[in-house]
């Protein structure tokens, strides 16, 4: 068990190294960062800055410096805000995480009951309607769903604010929008992982013993369907964060996503790099947590 945990830890470090390489290369492929930093300066000044900032060094040297800097939390100065990039990203992180967690909670509270019922009543009208909803949900562009919700609930009915993040009412539409994106994905996994266990022998045994149907589903079936569910939910966290980025833009939510999208339009790469790296770091850590949880939850691995 310990060796498996060690292997996971090694993978964590290796993946983080890879994430740094990708993040590093964002600035590299942009061409000349110095002309982005000081567009009006004469070429001679740029050459001086290029030399002093080390852009003339060989790539491995630059990469080593980049890794050393981000280990100390230094992603450089924002070209636009003229202040360190990392704090700008960090102060917006709670907003993005709140949005994501709200959407995840909303999705789970919909996907679990609907998915379980779909699996139990396979091929019923309910199951088919749920499948149809999954198809619709996965085919809608998130940003369009958001605008349609604005049109209905903010413009027509005037129940909720169009955008912002000041009141709890303002959180409803962004969270609902993001949930329309994540619910179909989760629903499909809940349904298929339940389908795999509901007809297994031990579930039939439980029924034969006279255990009540609800207990069979909750105690016997769901606990075993939970394993794949947790793994896939972890894998989908990255997708959800991607959806959050675009949802924040639609609703002017002051989170990391909107900051990054704004920074991309201004070619403000230190912020882009800090934001992309941190979001990837969160995904990596969530997946690591899922791996550890998996080792802990799965008796087959635990015993070995």
């Amino acid at each position: 068990m310990l060796s498996l945990l060690t292997r996971r830890l090694i993978r964590l470090v290796v993946v983080l190294a890879g994430v740094s390489v990708v993040t590093f290369s964002i600035l590299q492929v942009s061409g000349d960062p110095v002309s982005l930093m000081m567009p009006e300066a004469p070429e001679s000044d740029r050459a001086v800055l290029r030399q002093s900032m080390g852009f003339n060094d060989p790539l491995p040297v630059q990469f080593a410096r980049f890794v050393r800097n981000i280990a100390r939390g230094d992603f450089g100065q924002s070209f636009f805000h003229r202040e360190p990039a990392l704090p700008l990203v960090l102060e917006r992180m709670p907003t993005t995480l709140l949005l994501t967690v709200l959407a995840m909670a909303l999705s789970l509270s919909l996907a679990l009951p609907i998915g379980i019922l779909s699996a139990i009543r396979r091929n019923s009208v309910f199951d088919h309607s749920a499948t149809l909803l999954v198809f619709l949900g996965t085919s809608m562009p998130v940003f369009w769903t958001g605008i349609m919700l604005i049109l209905l609930f903010a413009v027509q009915l005037r129940w909720l604010p169009v955008s912002g993040w000041e009141s709890w009412a303002a959180l409803v539409l962004p969270a609902a929008t993001l949930a329309t994106f994540s619910t179909p994905l989760l629903l499909r996994i809940v349904r298929s992982s339940m389908l795999e266990v509901v007809n297994l022998d031990y579930v039939r045994t439980a029924r034969a013993k006279g255990v009540s149907e609800s207990l069979v589903i909750c105690r016997h079936a769901l606990t075993n369907a939970a394993l794949p569910l947790v793994t896939v939910a972890g894998l989908q966290f990255g997708l959800l964060l991607g959806g959050a980025v675009i949802t924040e833009t639609v609703f002017a939510v002051p989170g990391v996503g909107r900051l990054i999208v704004g920074a991309i339009r201004q070619l403000d790469f230190p912020i882009v790099q800090a934001g992309v790296f941190l979001l990837a770091l969160i995904v990596v850590l969530v997946n690591f947590a899922v791996d550890v949880l998996y080792i802990y939850l799965n008796p087959q691995i635990r015993v070995r």
């Binding site: 964002i26 198809f135 562009p141 940003f143 049109l151 990054i260 790469f269 997946n287």
Partner: protein, 302 residues
């Protein structure tokens, strides 16, 4: 002589089996009304894209200030010349949607081709060679999976400078990992099968085993995955255009139209609504066809 009869006999039987298989797949596909609807919608979208100049009722670029914000034809102030209304500068929305189909389809298909080539190659190598090559490739897959794909695509398209080719390449290079995982898993399962063992026993080279025996057996998964990936790529392209790092060309895209329409949603609901419906219908049609294709191609599913 005997050998020849035998070999041609085998070939005939093989051909018959293959055509029987093909008609079985076809029958399964045709029996499903949702898949038929999907095929029709797709045909309509592809037709509109190919024959855009003949299908579009107006010139998509022509502006007209007196006709701005004309509502759709069924509304009170609607005009038959502009079936889905006009935008904030008086351009015909239907015509812009028709031309927008070109970008969506080209990007969707081309990006998936890039993903397919990269992903399948890496998946074959990973599953066939195993060992260190496998470890390296799967680490790269893990790294790719750590980034929200949209965010990575957004950053690289902006860094490289928006253009049609950039979008295709970046979406292709950020979306290949699913091919690798699936093809690798299939190769790992297939290489233990008797026919692969037999090929190796009669002296087939590793490359021949890989290309003639393993690769063709992953085709049905690849076809199904590609269909669904085209749908994803269309959604991603729309999101990129919506966020303002689109193709950088004058041609309208669906995502761009929604982004512009967002600002006028309270005065002209039709501006963002119809381009979004175009995306929804196209992607839904592809997803329905892809899903049925999976059921039809997979002999394990009834």
């Amino acid at each position: 002589m005997a050998v020849r009869t035998l070999s041609s006999g085998v070939r005939l039987e093989d051909r018959a089996a293959r055509s029987a298989e093909r008609s079985r797949v076809w029958r399964k596909l045709v029996r499903n009304p949702a898949a038929i609807a999907g095929v029709f919608v797709l045909a309509a979208v592809v037709g509109a894209a190919l024959f855009a100049p003949y299908v579009a009722p107006q010139d998509p670029a022509r502006q007209s200030l007196i006709r701005r914000f004309t509502p759709p034809v069924w509304a009170e102030a609607g005009k038959a010349a502009y079936p889905l209304g006009t935008d904030q500068v008086g351009r015909d929305i239907l015509s812009r949607i028709v031309y927008g189909a070109r970008v969506s389809l080209v990007v969707g298909v081309a990006a998936v081709l890039v993903s397919l080539v990269v992903g399948v190659t890496l998946g074959l190598l990973s599953g066939f060679l195993q060992g260190r090559v496998d470890t390296v490739i799967m680490t790269v897959v893990d790294v790719t999976l750590s980034f929200p794909q949209l965010l990575l695509a957004l950053a690289f398209v902006a860094a490289l400078g928006p253009s049609l080719v950039t979008i295709i390449v970046v979406l292709g290079l950020t979306g290949w990992e699913r091919y690798t995982r699936v093809v690798r898993a299939e190769v790992l399962a297939l290489r233990e099968k008797d026919f692969v063992e037999a090929a190796r026993a009669i002296g087939a080279s590793p490359i021949r085993t890989l290309l003639r025996h393993l690769l063709p057996n992953t085709f049905s998964s690849i076809i199904v995955m590609s269909t669904l990936q085209v749908a994803q790529a269309i959604l991603q392209e729309a999101a990129l255009s919506f966020l303002g790092v689109g193709t950088g060309s004058v041609h309208p895209t669906w995502g761009q139209m929604i982004a512009l329409g967002r600002d006028f949603v309270s005065v002209a609901w039709w501006l963002p609504t119809f381009p979004g419906l175009a995306i929804l219908l196209t992607v839904l049609a592809i997803n329905l066809v892809g899903d049925r294709l999976r059921d039809a191609l997979d002999p394990r599913v009834g």
